[in-house]
Symmetry: C2
Subunit: 441 residues, 2 copies
């Protein structure tokens, strides 16, 4: 087998066999296939695509490139959840305790990553004392004991993805459906869950701007998951405006606690119920995701979900009093109200611009070594569909104490520019566009 | 300017500006742009192509990546000739003295390269004593003195092409029209000729199999040459069967001498007259290429062309008696007649197969360090359109003395398989498919 021939084969639009794909991934990871051949292949894949079988074979070859985690010691069906990413996406923080409260074991491996805000780990670490470093054995023990735990990624999971992603990132080969699907799914499959619920986001704040692209990717990932023997369902959701009101690390933990108390923003709560409903369904707790929503709603109302969060925080050495006293979370004293200049109905609140504004404040990481501030971020007081008058506060900026006037002025300007107004009433945007489920539930 | 953005721009099918192309080529040569980005770009170019302006800008950026040769000291219009390569292509050996005999200065920089036989340098070096190492100053002095000289490539001409070609060769990005055109034309432009005649070959023994592809490439190269201010004409010719009868280094020198004596194979002579006619035309010697053919035919008949070859051989320290005594060229005593097994009219004589057979005998280089034997090769006794009977000799193999029976049997089998027979008479194939000339001559 020669790499040259395989690149040419894909360039010509032919289908690579399982053995050929395994040869390519194994060779790339062991260093026998150089970056310059892999980047040419990646570009050919961008143009010629991969069919479902190739995409599954690519994913499995990537899974097998490193360690995999087994969660078999934990009784029951372990359901993981993945979001393709958006602005103010606090669903994971809410879902971890919420689903665990329903008796579904949650052994969550999470990441930090680059973005407008930190990853789930960074957010949880804004709770004083909270620790996420643990071995897989510790994670399993914690789940067996209290039903839920969140850990940083450990071991050499999917090295092929780390290498390939770094290469794609500098060769303009990131946005290829099979490569994206393979990258996401390989990590999820290696992390050992039995079933997966995917939140595939579409809109301004997502990397997929159109619903069509999002449904395409959702379909590809659902095919991979089920092809790999893990029941997988995808929900395609709206990321045109930020989800909920908070964008920032501690601010999102605060929002998660509010949501677990039943006082969260309606869009965030609704999406958590939809995704959580599917998780309960795939865990075999209830036959129908709609029914799952009702079960979860009750766990919020009766305080069980918040208690589970408290239990988890305590078990991971965090200050569990934060669930009652939000003031214990890091806060900045430098808060600035952003005022509307015009008036009308908000037709759009561009998530991407808000994300960049949050990153500018220091809420996220532009580079791996960027320093992130847990306290900073933005609270959106008004969202699409709301009416605003000139001078009214539309958002509150939580800035570092030492933030200069220029930075504040620039963030203020960004946030105001993210709001688009219309003179007639505008409907609230649709939150869930649909789902991809092979069983048609 | 970011390489990532330029790769993405080309991936999306947009046109790269002159400054962008210069940035890419300069950065690649100085090492600031890594192979893996350049190979991704090359693959994107394979899919999206380049327009005429981009291709010219690419070519000029490559020319400017290293040294260029000036032939201005030599009076008159210097016309170079390039062939895209085929099997038994002895035209350059004939044209160098032939065109020089017509008073056109020929300062030929030539290469060795990989292929079924050696390059022009290798072939000339099979003449005892012949030397091709000389400086550009020596080359110019020789042309000023006797009107003709052939030298090996010297200096750091077009380093961008060397790097890019080596990369394309291992990333399945060789066959892209703009990249091929840029590679060929950058080397020709850097070598300093005022005008260019290109022999673009189509057929089994050429890298372009179809006439359409050959005309496309011819058009692209003619656009580049004229765009760069060097009058350029392309002739698209048939390389479905080998040109002439000889395939091998010394065997082709012998055939060139025969052709200069007026005793060469008709197809080789005809193509030399066509290409040479164009060279005279671009050199301003005659207005019309057809007229040039007649001038050159006369120089063969009156012995002037052969005398010029003799003069050049002597000037480059070779044994000029070879022009009268072909036995002075290296010959092997191990000659094997290949006999026809069937009978009928030769409908096709596949050049590629004959080329591989010659390489198997040791006439060419598979790798840079392969050892080439000047004496070995194949003489084709029968060609397309000829009638053959079973048992008749169709070709003569000139093998190394030490060649084993297995090798001979395999070459014999290859050669016989290259001949395709038909039971009805078959026309001789068309030699010249047409030309690409911006002035429509």
């Amino acid at each position: 087998m020669r790499v040259y021939d395989l690149i040419m084969k894909k360039r010509n639009g032919a289908v690579l066999s399982r053995a050929e794909i395994e040869y390519l991934i194994t060779g790339y990871v062991d260093g026998s296939i150089p970056d310059y051949q892999m980047s040419a292949l990646a570009m050919a894949i961008c143009f010629q695509g991969m069919n479902d079988e190739e995409t599954l074979n690519l994913t499995m070859a990537m899974v097998n490139s490193g360690d995999t985690i087994s969660l078999q010691e934990i009784a029951g069906i372990k359901v993981d959840k993945h979001s393709t990413g958006g602005v103010g996406d606090t669903t994971t923080l809410v879902l971890i305790p919420l689903v665990a409260a329903a008796g579904v074991p949650v052994a969550k491996l999470s990441g930090r990553g680059l973005g407008h805000t930190g990853g789930t780990l960074d957010k949880l670490e804004s709770i004083p004392g909270f620790r996420t470093e643990m071995t897989v054995a510790d994670l399993i023990a914690a789940v067996k004991s209290i039903g839920v735990a969140v850990a940083g990624q450990t071991g050499n999971l999917v090295p092929a993805d780390k290498m390939l992603y770094a290469l794609r990132d500098v060769t303009a080969t990131v946005d290829s459906k099979p490569l994206i699907a393979g990258s996401i799914m390989s990590k999820k499959l290696a992390a050992g869950a039995d079933a997966l619920v995917l939140d595939v986001k579409a809109g301004d704040g997502a990397f997929l701007k159109s619903r069509e692209e999002a449904f395409d990717l959702a379909q590809a990932m659902v095919e991979i998951g089920n092809g790999a023997g893990r029941e997988t369902v995808a929900v395609v959701t709206n990321m045109d405006q930020p989800l909920g009101r908070a964008v920032g690390n501690a601010l999102e933990v605060e929002e998660a606690i509010l949501t677990l108390r039943g006082e969260g923003p309606p869009d965030l709560e609704e999406l958590c119920l939809v995704l959580g409903g599917w998780m309960l369904c795939l865990a075999g707790k209830i036959p129908d995701p709609e029914e799952g929503k009702a079960v979860l709603k009750k766990l919020i109302e009766n305080g069980a979900a918040l208690r589970k969060f408290k239990e988890m925080i305590k078990n991971q050495y965090g200050d569990d009093a934060v669930t009652e006293n939000l003031a214990l979370l890091p806060h900045t004293t430098n808060k600035i109200n952003v005022k509307a200049t015009g008036e009308g109905y908000i037709s759009r609140l561009r998530a991407e611009v808000i994300g960049v504004a949050a990153m500018t404040l220091g809420a996220g990481r532009e580079k791996k070594d960027s320093i992130m501030d847990p306290a900073v971020g933005i609270i959106l007081e008004k969202k699409a569909g709301d009416r605003i008058s000139a001078g009214e506060t539309i958002a509150v900026v939580h800035a570092r104490e030492e933030a200069g006037a220029d930075l504040i002025a620039s963030v203020d300007e960004m946030i105001r520019s993210a709001y688009e107004l219309h003179d007639k009433p505008v409907d609230k945007p649709t939150l869930v566009f649909g789902s991809v489920d092979m069983k048609g539930r």
